[in-house]
């Protein structure tokens, strides 16, 4: 039982995941329909997504979701049948419904049991349901004529005749959320239903009858001019839940014999076919007699034989064969989509793999080193080949975590739509480079900063339509989200064709806020950079979208936390582009390798500004670890890493200072013994024990097998620039104690010791 519960929970989790995708699809389709309300494909996609959510929710007994989604589905069904056009009002209602489904699902996912919250959501859902209900009863009079127009115009018209449809629903039809009656009802839009015979042949005995399984089958006579594909399309949504056989008006008795043979369990089918006028009793009897003459034998074998006879007699129309083939390919296509193309893998398994591959890289490097030292030519050759393979494996493993950024980008379509509507602006979102790939962990963390930038562009960048017309721009604004690879980085740009940044205005504001000294002269880029200062907002009118003070400084902080950088390009009156540069993966770092005593340290390269010689005569160091130096007329705080990390080994006579950049433009100089240059390496996270260690963000293993610690530059710069002596002393003590307690001796990290 508990095992089943586990399976159920797993399935439910996958469903939540899928439902989110479905909701995204609904939003996408709605946005598509705003541009082109007659887009049949989008309408069908919309219906399918809502339908799937409802159906699957039903399986999981999520009745609140089913109830609400049912109403949405009904409205969409009406749209699909042409009775209703998606206009602005309906579109907004559907967007809101989409959110409501998300909320309902979210409550289930989070196992919300607060009755007040549930009641409030239910009340809102009911209100929304009523609102949707008004669309169901709107403009009913002319809907029939619309449908007729659509179907006749859409398909090549055939001679009117009576088609025969034989459909057998699969057991799981009800559980998939389909009602056979609704499907058959839909045929009314294709043509006139002459008769329906309900097939009960597959009903099990009453004792074994499961009311939730579907055993129904139908023989339907349909009078229509439509082509076969149109008739089939009525069954599109249940294609995998039923067996459908369509016999064209021109078909002869032999086709019906074939049908009978295909369904050998249904003994009365012949009678039913005669009863519904599909075939005459005489024709049926004579065809059966002919069949028995040619191939006597038990019924099942006859069934197989007749197919062959029909082919031999050239009686089977190619159309039938085509249809069979088409159906077959549809089936396999569906199967492939479900199980073949993608494998769901938990993210931590991938992380584990990448971690192991990292170990493998290091181990391989160590083997190479030993081979070289042993001067064994054969071994060197083998290890070189090994290194190459390991490198490929590493790239492949990192590639597994790469996802397309497009999926993140499309989320903003909705934001752009909602916000621009709210502000009374018309804005198009252009997406470029959606196929650009980057690490999943980066994608997850870049979402919020991007959202903020997009909102900013909408709110502050794009002007009102009348203002745009006044300056000779098209009334519709454009926001462009683009992504591209650039030398091991990904560059994401959020650009708009709005009013651009006014450097002078920014400067004035900066002066007013005391961020810029009166006589300080700033370059244009520096003026733009002011918007990243904490608490800086140029919005004269504070809207509920932006201007809340948690602005661009947070964006910059988040991006820098991902080891990225932000740059602003802007032209007054022409628009603004904000360029974010991020590493492709968080698993690899471009580092700067330095040596202090016996230990190696890696400083993230993006933080390194310059390296200078440390002249003891110019440095003012206190007895502990901090101090300052005058660098080109500026005071640069210094930090002696040797003391901070209590490194072993004697300091050389000539030390170096690496000038690094902390957050919000702060700088500090780190005193090291030796510079070993740039070094690209795989980051290994620190173990649990070391997680709270100040000043260290991770570790890596060098080719020689030696462990190098990756410095947390932000924390170190803060340490260097903290002025209050008591706190500094405390911090230092704490850090020192941490290190001592953890036994942070490089030897402890080294492999094999």
């Amino acid at each position: 039982m508990s095992n089943n519960d586990g399976l159920y929970d797993d399935a439910l989790l996958i469903f939540f995941d899928e439902a989110r995708e479905m909701l995204q699809n609904i939003e996408d389709s709605l946005l598509q329909l705003e541009n082109n309300p007659k887009d049949d494909e989008a309408i069908n996609a919309l219906f399918r997504s809502a339908h799937t959510i409802k159906g699957t929710s039903g399986i999981f007994n999520l009745n609140r979701v089913v109830k609400f989604t049912h109403q949405v589905e009904s409205v969409l069904d009406r749209v699909r049948k042409g009775g209703l056009t998606i206009d602005l009002g309906l579109s907004e209602a559907l967007f809101t419904s989409c959110d409501m489904i998300g909320t309902l699902l979210g409550q289930v996912e989070k196992r919300t049991d607060d009755p007040a919250a549930i009641a409030a959501t239910d009340a809102a859902a009911d209100a929304l349901s009523d609102r949707l209900g008004t669309f169901l009863h709107q403009g009913g009079a002319d809907s029939a004529s619309v449908v007729k127009e659509v179907t006749t115009a859409a398909e090549n018209v055939h001679q009117e005749g009576i088609w025969h449809l034989s459909v057998r629903f699969h057991h799981n039809t009800f559980l998939s959320g389909f009602d056979p009656l609704t499907v058959i009802d839909y045929l009314k839009n294709v043509g006139e239903i002459i008769s329906i015979h309900t097939i009960e042949a597959h009903f099990p005995e009453w004792d074994k009858f499961d009311a939730e399984s579907c055993y129904l089958g139908f023989e339907i006579r349909l009078k229509t001019q439509a082509a076969k594909s149109v008739i089939e399309s009525a069954f599109e949504f249940v294609a995998e839940d039923c067996d459908l056989r369509i016999i064209a008006p021109t078909r002869r008795a032999s086709d019906f014999i074939a049908l009978i043979n295909q369904l050998p369990d249904e003994l009365r089918l012949g009678d039913i076919l005669v009863a519904c006028g599909a075939v005459t009793r005489e024709a049926l009897d004579s065809a059966l007699a002919h069949q028995n003459e040619v191939a006597p034998g038990p019924v099942r074998q006859v069934g197989q034989a007749i197919g062959e006879i029909l082919v031999a007699q050239n009686r089977v129309n190619p159309e039938v064969v085509d249809a069979a083939l088409e159906r077959q390919s549809k089936m396999t296509g569906a199967v492939r989509q479900e199980g073949g193309l993608f494998v769901r893998v938990p993210a931590d398994k991938l992380d584990e793999l990448i971690n192991l591959v990292g170990e493998l890289v290091i181990c391989g490097a160590s083997a190479s080193l030993q081979a070289v030292q042993a001067e064994d030519a054969g071994l060197i050759g083998t290890t070189q080949q090994l290194s190459r393979l390991v490198e490929e494996i590493r790239n492949g493993a990192l590639g597994l975590r790469m996802v397309r950024i497009g999926e993140t980008f499309v989320r903003y379509r909705r934001v752009v739509h909602d916000v621009s509507t709210e502000l009374g602006k018309t804005v198009n979102l252009v997406i470029e480079g959606a196929d650009t790939e980057l690490d999943k962990s980066v994608v997850e963390k870049i979402g919020d900063p991007l959202m903020h930038l997009v909102r900013n562009s909408l709110d502050h960048g794009i002007e009102m339509p009348e203002d745009r017309i006044a300056v000779g721009k098209p009334p519709d604004g454009t926001i462009c989200l683009s992504a591209r690879h650039d030398s091991g980085n990904i560059v994401i740009q959020v650009s708009d064709d709005g009013k651009g940044l006014d450097g002078e205005k920014l400067l004035a504001k900066g002066r007013e806020k005391g961020l810029v000294a009166e006589n300080q002269i700033l370059t244009e880029a520096e003026k733009f950079d002011l918007i990243f200062a904490p608490g800086f907002s140029t919005a004269e009118k504070v809207t509920n979208l932006s201007g809340r003070g948690v602005g661009m400084d947070v964006v910059r902080k988040n991006i820098e936390a991902l080891r990225g950088s932000v740059k602003i390009l802007s032209q007054l009156g022409q628009g603004t582009a904000i360029e974010i540069r991020l590493p492709l993966t968080l698993a690899i770092i471009d580092g700067f390798l330095v040596r202090i005593g016996d230990g190696s340290f890696v400083i993230p390269l993006h933080a390194v500004l310059e390296c200078i010689d440390a002249d003891p005569a110019e440095m003012n160091l206190n007895e502990q670890y901090a101090g300052f130096i005058k660098l080109r007329g500026e005071v640069l705080p210094l930090l002696a890493l040797r003391s901070v990390f209590s490194c072993q080994g004697k300091a050389p006579a000539k030390q170096r200072i690496v000038v690094v950049r902390g957050t919000a433009g702060t700088k500090a100089g780190l005193i090291v013994d030796r510079l070993d240059g740039e070094y690209q390496t795989v980051i290994k996270p620190l173990g649990k024990l070391f997680r709270h260690l100040n000043g260290i963000s991770g570790s890596t293993v060098l080719g020689s097998g030696e462990v190098a610690l990756i410095l947390d530059v932000g924390a170190l710069v803060k340490l260097a620039t903290q002025n209050r002596s008591d706190e500094t002393a405390d911090r230092q003590k704490r850090l020192f104690r941490d290190l001592q307690l953890m036994g942070l001796d490089h030897n402890n990290f080294n492999r094999g010791t």
Partner: protein, 97 residues
């Protein structure tokens, strides 16, 4: 004919068919050779394929026991479905008795 007609739930659909089947099983287990088993559909306002299927299976099961199902107070909507799907002759309708 001493058994009082059972009144069917308003939602004769997939959401309720399991419960209704239980109820019908109960009716059949109490069956005592009466030629007619009456059920009352006056409350039914929702009726779908699962409902239709259950009704047909119920009728078949009753027939095996030598009985027929009589549908009382058949709402227009349900009657229309039964007619459209050509299954009216499976049941006895109140008017016909």
């Amino acid at each position: 004919m001493s058994i009082k007609p059972t009144v069917m739930n308003s939602s004769f659909t997939i959401e309720n068919v399991s419960d209704m089947q239980e109820m019908m099983r109960g009716i059949l287990s109490r069956h005592n050779g009466e030629p007619l088993i009456e059920i009352d559909l006056s409350e039914v306002d929702e009726f779908d394929g699962a409902g239709l299927q259950l009704l047909l299976a119920f009728s078949a099961a009753a027939k095996k026991m030598g009985s027929h199902i009589q549908l009382n107070n058949l709402p227009e909507r349900v009657a229309a479905v039964l007619t459209r799907y050509n299954v009216t002759d499976h049941f006895v309708r109140r008017e016909q008795v």
